[in-house]
């Protein structure tokens, strides 16, 4: 194992997050993990059917029983892949026999019913511990990590059953009706094919869940060790030490070799008594471990390999024990699933209640209708648009506008001339122009809108008027007005006089003729 090649972010997490990391690991290496799983499980599935010919109902039970062995394949892959070493097929097959043989009996008998199995298996399989050392180690490792691991087992068992049922339901949904097959026939285990089908479903459900179960348990184990042994810090310190000791490469080698030792299973990082909290440490275990330790160090020191000798020098008594208090909720007992009792009585109370509710509902409906109606009535526009369409405020419409609704005064020409002579040329021309528009609107029916500009009015007049003289006059007037109003260039006096004089000719109705 090379801790510096670890492919996951190491940091102390809470237990649920650790199982999530397991799911993430599975998602990262689905191919190798599932290949390893099926490489072992599929032949076994077939083999069991052959062995139990005629008693196929036994197969799911046997499969279930053999799960601890099957689990070893995904754990093997994950354990290597996490440290940057995804095992290839050949190595997997080469190491498989050892993998399966190691403590197989224990795994299939008394440890089969360990509810925190997924959490404990890495200790056996990856660290290779056995016997009292293993127990001791599990106890140290396990206390706060055990609870979530048990929950993990419970939830995964439910997930597996749920997925089995889901698969059956899916098949039922997908089988068209005209296939003359009642779906419960499929569940009829008296039929051999029904049994085979059930076994296959169970196998699929197991295959979906079991690698996840293994990965989550492995992640729980990793997380626990990160808590207890500060792997993240170790990683950082190694890097720092390597940087500091660039002149002494041996230190790096020692560091990595230490990691290797940890991986091959010697408890270089072990668990020792915390005297304050753990007085009941049995003497023989300590003795045994010390002995084991001394032998190991001696072996290393005698070795010809310089790396191992260096390792022996650095190894020290590595016992480790930490205690974390974690509070959690625990079900005391599960309440019964509610059974709904059929209502029995129709007493007076019930009748009154029902009538009351009904009236209340009628009332609510009426109220709702009334509110909606009121809303529509008060703001009738609601039905026509989300907000009342206050498109434009009134002032914007009327600013600077004289509505040309009334006919112009008959003496406008004279009035304009008077303004001109009084030194107000702009006012004079405004009067003339406004008067003309009023005349066009009232006498010739030109729909002059307030928003029309001078050119708009002119275009309108050109389109609607058939009196060429009037049009010519209006065009001339418009030009003069534009120059006066916007360029402040009033016409000369003769021009103004001519306009004033000509105006009545076009816009004053001769007396006696009807408008």
């Amino acid at each position: 194992m090379r801790l510096d090649a670890v492919a996951a972010e190491l940091r102390p997490r809470n237990s649920w997050e650790a199982t999530d990391l397991g799911a993430t690991m599975l998602r990262r290496w689905p191919g190798p993990v599932y290949r390893a799983w099926f490489a072992l499980a599929l032949p076994l599935f077939v083999l069991l059917h052959l062995l139990c010919w005629g008693h196929w109902w036994l197969v799911p039970w046997l499969l279930w029983w053999l799960k601890p062995l099957l689990d070893r394949a995904p754990l093997y892959v994950l354990g290597h892949a996490l440290f940057g070493d995804v095992p290839d097929r050949r190595r997997f097959w080469r190491e498989l026999p050892d993998l399966l043989r190691c403590q197989a009996l224990a795994a299939l008998t008394w440890r089969r019913f360990d509810p925190a199995r997924s959490f404990h298996v890495p200790v056996t399989q990856l660290e290779g511990l056995a016997g009292k050392v293993r127990r001791r180690r599990l106890r140290d490792l396990g206390q706060p990590g055990r609870g979530p691991a048990v929950w993990l087992t419970v939830i995964c068992a439910h997930l597996e059953i749920g997925l089995d049922l889901a698969l059956i339901a899916l098949a039922w949904m997908l089988i068209p009706d005209f296939v003359d097959l009642e779906w419960y026939e499929l569940l009829d285990d008296a039929e051999p094919w029904g049994q085979l089908w059930l076994n296959a479903v169970g196998f699929c459900g197991m295959s979906l869940v079991e690698p996840f179960y293994v990965a989550a348990g492995f992640a729980l184990y990793l997380n626990r060790r990160t808590w207890l042994e500060a792997w993240d810090l170790e990683l950082g310190f190694r890097r720092l030490a390597a940087r500091l000791a660039q002149t002494r490469p041996a230190a790096v080698v020692v560091g990595l070799a230490l990691g290797a030792a940890l991986w091959v299973g010697q408890p270089s990082v072990g668990f020792a008594a915390d005297a304050a909290s753990d007085g009941d440490l049995e003497l023989d275990i300590v003795k045994m471990r010390c002995e084991q330790w001394r032998t190991r160090v001696a072996e290393l020191a005698d070795s010809t390999d310089p790396v191992q000798r260096a390792l022996a020098e650095t190894l020290r008594d590595p016992e480790l024990r930490a205690c974390v208090v974690e509070e959690r909720w625990r079900w005391r007992d599960r309440p019964e699933r509610p059974a709904v009792e059929k209502p029995v009585a129709d007493g007076a109370l019930a009748r009154g209640f029902a009538a009351g509710v009904e009236y209340a509902l009628w009332f609510a409906l009426g109220l709702l209708a009334a509110v909606a109606a009121w809303r529509l009535w008060r703001q009738p526009v609601t039905l026509r648009g989300r907000r009342p369409r206050r498109v434009l405020a009134k002032p914007a419409l009327t600013l600077g506008r004289n509505d040309p609704t009334a006919p112009p005064a008959a003496d406008l020409g004279e009035a304009a001339w008077r303004l001109w002579t009084a030194g107000q040329p702009r006012e004079a021309l405004r009067a003339l122009y406004q008067g003309s528009l009023a005349g066009l609107a009232t006498r010739h029916g030109l729909p002059v809108s307030p928003s029309a500009t001078e050119e708009d009015c002119l275009r309108l007049a050109a389109a609607r008027l058939n009196d060429a003289k009037l049009l010519e006059f209006f065009r001339r007037l418009t030009r003069v007005w534009q120059a006066t109003a916007y360029a402040h260039r009033p016409p000369d006096e003769t021009g103004a006089r001519a306009l004033c004089a000509e105006w009545p000719r076009h816009f004053v109705v001769p007396a006696g003729s009807s408008p």
């Binding site: 020290r316 480790l320 209502p343 009748r351």
Partner: protein, 233 residues
């Protein structure tokens, strides 16, 4: 900064203020447990209600059915909107539903993710939901995908860890920011790691501790950490 190549369950969300918030996305285990608790609460409530409603006869059945309907579809919605994105079960497990950008769920999102529960439940017992949860990047079931929501861990604010009191010493050589962070973390986690393990870790840094061994080395590193966080004695 976190190495993106490393496996992790954290999702980074950039806020309009230009900072990155870390959301720790919650996976199947915690969510399944929360769902189990919620189911117990729901069916417990229905059971309790049926005890009372029995007195009302058929009318009671009507009320009971309406309650069943409301609990079935809107129990999570109401809690997610009005109780910080967490049903009681989620709250017990420290979970929270948020939008993918870290904002609290709004009505449409809460409705979508809970109406689509009906599909996640298919073909039976959350078959689609579980598969989607395991396959999708951020542990989202179909309802979460459609609503754009995440379920995250919402921890109680972490208590600041105090360093054990003592002298402060400058480190004998310049350290990078990451290395400083690790030294400080080492001192802060003194209460979690056992002494032997600490000594072992300290031994890795013999160059920093000028060859001290054992407890003395640990103490020296702590002193450096105190100096690094800015404590002066």
């Amino acid at each position: 900064m976190p190495n993106p190549a490393l496996l992790d369950t954290v999702r980074h969300v950039e806020t309009p203020e230009g900072i990155t918030l870390k959301l720790r996305v919650a996976g199947p285990m915690a969510r399944a447990l929360a769902w189990g608790m919620d189911s117990l609460i729901r069916y417990g409530a229905l059971w309790g209600l049926s005890m009372g409603l029995v007195l009302l006869g058929w009318a009671g059945l009507g009320v009971w059915l309406i309650t069943l309907f409301l609990l079935e579809w809107f129990y999570p919605v109401v809690f997610e909107i009005y109780a910080d994105g967490a049903t009681p079960g989620k709250k017990a497990l420290g979970l929270q539903v948020v939008l993918a950008n870290g904002a609290p769920v709004d009505w449409p999102a809460a409705l979508i993710r809970n109406l689509l529960r009906a599909v996640d439940f298919l073909p039976a017992f959350y078959g689609f939901g579980v598969v989607a949860l395991l396959v999708s990047r951020d542990f989202q079931r179909l309802g979460d995908l459609a609503a754009g929501t995440l379920v995250i861990y919402r921890d109680p604010p972490a208590k600041p860890l105090a360093l054990p009191p003592g002298p402060a010493l400058p480190p004998p050589l310049p350290l990078s920011a990451a290395e400083q962070q690790e030294l400080i973390a080492f001192a802060e986690r003194g209460s979690v790691l056992n002494p032997e393990r600490q000594e072992e870790l300290a031994a890795l840094l013999a160059d920093c501790t000028s060859g001290l061994r054992g407890v003395a080395a640990v103490e020296r590193l702590r002193a450096h950490a105190r100096w690094l966080v800015g404590e002066r004695t």
